[in-house]
Symmetry: C2
Subunit: 159 residues, 2 copies
């Protein structure tokens, strides 16, 4: 059987067509993103999403967005292979826990600053104070809470 590569003079099909044992056409939707020398990259995507679904997903996107879509699909597939129960949702949970911890630490530290300033103001109501904000030249800050994005407004089933 004559093998037909995607590129002129290239004998080998892309990693997707190789795994699917099919001819790699000139306009193969997978070929730009799944080179022959990275077979595992497509193998995980195929295992988790299925070649047919990924094909449809890519076809529905304009060409300039397909690279990003493949990157996120590969990331999700690898995460699911590593963690079959939680996939990349496990990473989301970990990141949210980190955010909770950071927000608590930030609130405590901001309270520390307020506390230090209130005490110094109470002790030096009319005179020079070495730790006064107007003398310190130190950085300012604002509360982070209002910047938290509503990421988890998607449906999430909890048993």
């Amino acid at each position: 059987m004559k093998e037909s590569g995607r590129k002129q003079g290239a004998a080998s099909p892309c990693a997707a067509c190789k795994l699917l044992r099919r001819r790699c056409a000139q306009d193969c939707v997978f070929a730009p993103y799944f080179p022959a020398d990275e077979p595992q990259k497509f193998a995980n995507v195929h295992k988790v999403f299925g070649a047919s679904n990924v094909n449809k997903m890519l076809q529905e996107l304009p060409v300039h967005q397909r690279g990003d879509a493949v990157s996120s699909i590969v990331y999700e597939a690898n995460a699911r292979v590593r963690d079959p129960v939680y996939g990349c949702v496990g990473a989301i949970s970990s990141l949210q826990q980190q955010i909770d911890t950071l927000q608590t630490q930030l609130a405590l530290t901001q309270a520390e600053v307020v506390h230090l300033r209130v005490r110094q103001t109470a002790s030096f109501p009319h005179g020079f104070c070495p730790t006064s904000p107007s003398n310190s030249g130190s950085p300012t800050f604002k509360l982070m809470g209002s910047q938290t994005m509503p990421i988890f407004d998607m449906d999430m089933v909890v048993d």
Copy 2:
């Protein structure tokens, strides 16, 4: 044609079997997680992952982990339907940006605390200082940086 429900006396198949137009057997792997009254829940999962792949993924897990696996799969599928380019990896990026912002804010606020304390110590080297840590009774804190988890050690393709 006689319809065979999963539960005794229940005539309707689960949402998965209904969509796939097949008989819902007593031991249907989907039935506990995809009830007939939530058709969209399975529709998105089927569109993104494919029923066959999800069936395999669930079969490979012990029963007590399947509920969590379905939750994360449904979450990922909904995220992909809402954002066909980035899926739930978009949420991960947003969360990481929030963490970066919080870490910067925390570092600045911690520097503010140190700054206030150094100035007061320099001004009150031997006597009582109203903002001394030993007098303040205020909360303590520690740096967050070392607690950051290495979530992004998975392969991520960047074009």
